[in-house]
């Protein structure tokens, strides 16, 4: 297949995805419960992962994800379609997690439990996602790496963490992040630079300790 043909097909797929998304949103606005269930099922993994990384606590992330979708349901009428639905949901997730963290701080309940957060079920799931030929040592190393990353993430400020996750984990462009967080693109780039450097410093310090 030629590169031009591939690009054309990708554009068609994107357009198809956008129209599917538009249809789903319209169905949800008309009160179609099944359509909303489909919308939740489509995005719940992304919402939970982002919330868990931002908050550092799976239980909190589960509650946050639930609240996010309830807010999506209530405010879907205000979604104007200027951004993609996914970007719009990202914005709700980040705002909700930011408020939740402020709430914790006010009550001095700020906590981070990246290590305890991984239950045996999580670890089993991580093992499933790993390479087939992975031995126990590699699995342990991968688990330690995942913990180190989450621990380093939680040392960053919330704003730096959000920018970094949206860029590196969710794969948003700087322009999309700027739209999601309602900040200038230049601010996104400078925050991203500082956040990457802080993550590097934190992980490098951890490796030196070991």
């Amino acid at each position: 297949m030629a590169a031009g043909e591939f690009a054309l097909r990708s554009a068609e797929a994107l357009a198809g995805g956008a129209s599917l998304e538009h249809g789903l949103v319209e169905q949800c606005r008309r009160g179609d419960a099944q359509a909303f269930a489909r919308l939740v099922a489509l995005h719940e993994g992304m919402v939970f992962n982002l919330a868990a990384r931002l908050l550092g606590d799976p239980e909190e992330a589960r509650d946050a994800a639930q609240e996010v979708f309830l807010q999506v349901y209530r405010t879907l009428g205000r979604f104007e379609g200027r951004s993609t639905l996914k970007t719009w949901i990202y914005r709700i997730v980040v705002n909700h997690c930011r408020n939740r963290q402020r709430w914790w701080r006010r009550r001095r309940k700020d906590r981070s439990c990246p290590i305890d957060a991984l239950t045996p079920a999580d670890e089993a799931r991580l093992a499933e996602h790993g390479p087939r030929a992975e031995g126990p040592e590699e699995r342990l190393e991968r688990r330690e790496r995942a913990r180190a990353v989450q621990s380093a993430l939680l040392q960053l400020s919330f704003e730096h963490r959000a920018v970094l996750l949206l860029r590196e984990v969710e794969g948003l462009s700087c322009e999309e992040i700027a739209g999601t967080l309602s900040i200038a693109e230049g601010t996104v780039k400078s925050r991203l630079s500082r956040a990457r450097d802080a993550l590097r410093g934190s992980l490098a310090g951890r490796q030196e300790l070991q």
């Binding site: 419960a33 909303f36 269930a37 939740v40 099922a41 719940e44 993994g45 919402v47 939970f48 992962n49 868990a52 990384r53 799976p58 992330a61 589960r62 994800a65 639930q66 979708f69 309830l70 349901y73 239950t119 079920a121 999580d122 799931r125 991580l126 996602h129 790993g130 790496r145 995942a146 180190a148 990353v149 989450q150 380093a152 993430l153 970094l164 996750l165 590196e168 984990v169 700087c174 780039k189 991203l192 630079s193 990457r196 450097d197 993550l199 590097r200 992980l203 490098a204």
Partner: protein
């Protein structure tokens, strides 16, 4: 070659391919030539790769189910429609909560019934609204007399009560009396505010027969309250 600080500041943009060709080439050359910056670049790429490759965390429960349950509870029609709908339409989470609620209601009603039978009923409380007090009388009338002030002149005695003998019978006792002088100069009411009421009886009766030049407000006669302290004072001739 550019300085280390400048190169390090541009690493993030270099990583994203946001630098133009010439600055990007300068950064690349610097990273090749400077071991410290080269190491920093490698550790930066490694840290970002570790984050990007970290496994996605997944929720143990289906969030869509939880959200669906919450939405159904929030949007469910209230009142009788909730109770009278078919059993098979009820969500399992609402029925268990109705049963203890009904049990608590039955117990409370039963207790109220038993306690009500054991005790005599309390006397009925009769409440009356403000309208039952009747309309407030106009100020300056006998029912609503005025007090002395700069605007209200004091009534002057025209016919004093013959109270000298009565005062003698009073002894050392003092009486504090309110007299309402009516608009026609007669005494409307006499009220003993302080003192022995038994001894004061004849004196109060005498005071009711006093006659006054009525008090006036803006030239018109008005009913006025007078407060008087009545006591006996013995006056002796000076010793010469």
């Amino acid at each position: 070659m550019i300085a280390c600080m400048r190169a390090r500041r541009q690493l993030s943009a270099y990583m994203d391919g946001n630098l133009e060709a010439r600055p990007a080439r300068r950064v690349a050359l610097h990273l090749d030539a400077c071991p410290a910056c080269g190491a920093r670049w490698r550790s930066l790429r490694s840290a970002v790769a570790m984050l990007a490759e970290a496994p996605r965390l997944e929720c143990r429960d289906l969030i869509s189910t939880r959200v669906g349950d919450r939405l159904e509870v929030e949007t469910r029609s209230a009142g009788l429609a909730l109770i009278l709908r078919p059993t098979w339409k009820a969500r399992p989470l609402i029925f268990p909560s109705l049963i203890p609620a009904a049990a608590v209601l039955v117990v409370v009603l039963g207790l109220a019934f038993v306690l009500d039978r054991d005790h005599d009923p309390l006397p009925a409380v009769v409440t009356r609204g403000a309208e039952s007090w009747g309309p407030t009388a106009a100020s300056g009338t006998e029912s609503n007399p005025l007090f002395l002030s700069a605007e209200v002149s004091a009534p002057r005695v025209r016919t004093a009560a013959p109270i000298n003998d009565l005062l003698a019978a009073l002894g050392e006792e003092s009486l504090f009396v309110e007299t309402v002088v009516a608009r026609d100069g007669s005494v409307s009411t006499v009220t003993l505010l302080g003192g022995d009421s038994l001894q004061a009886g004849p004196l109060l009766e005498a005071l009711r027969h006093e006659r006054f030049e009525p008090g006036r407000r803006h030239g018109r006669p008005v009913a006025v309250s007078l407060y008087r302290l009545i006591s006996r004072t013995d006056v002796h001739a000076p010793v010469t």
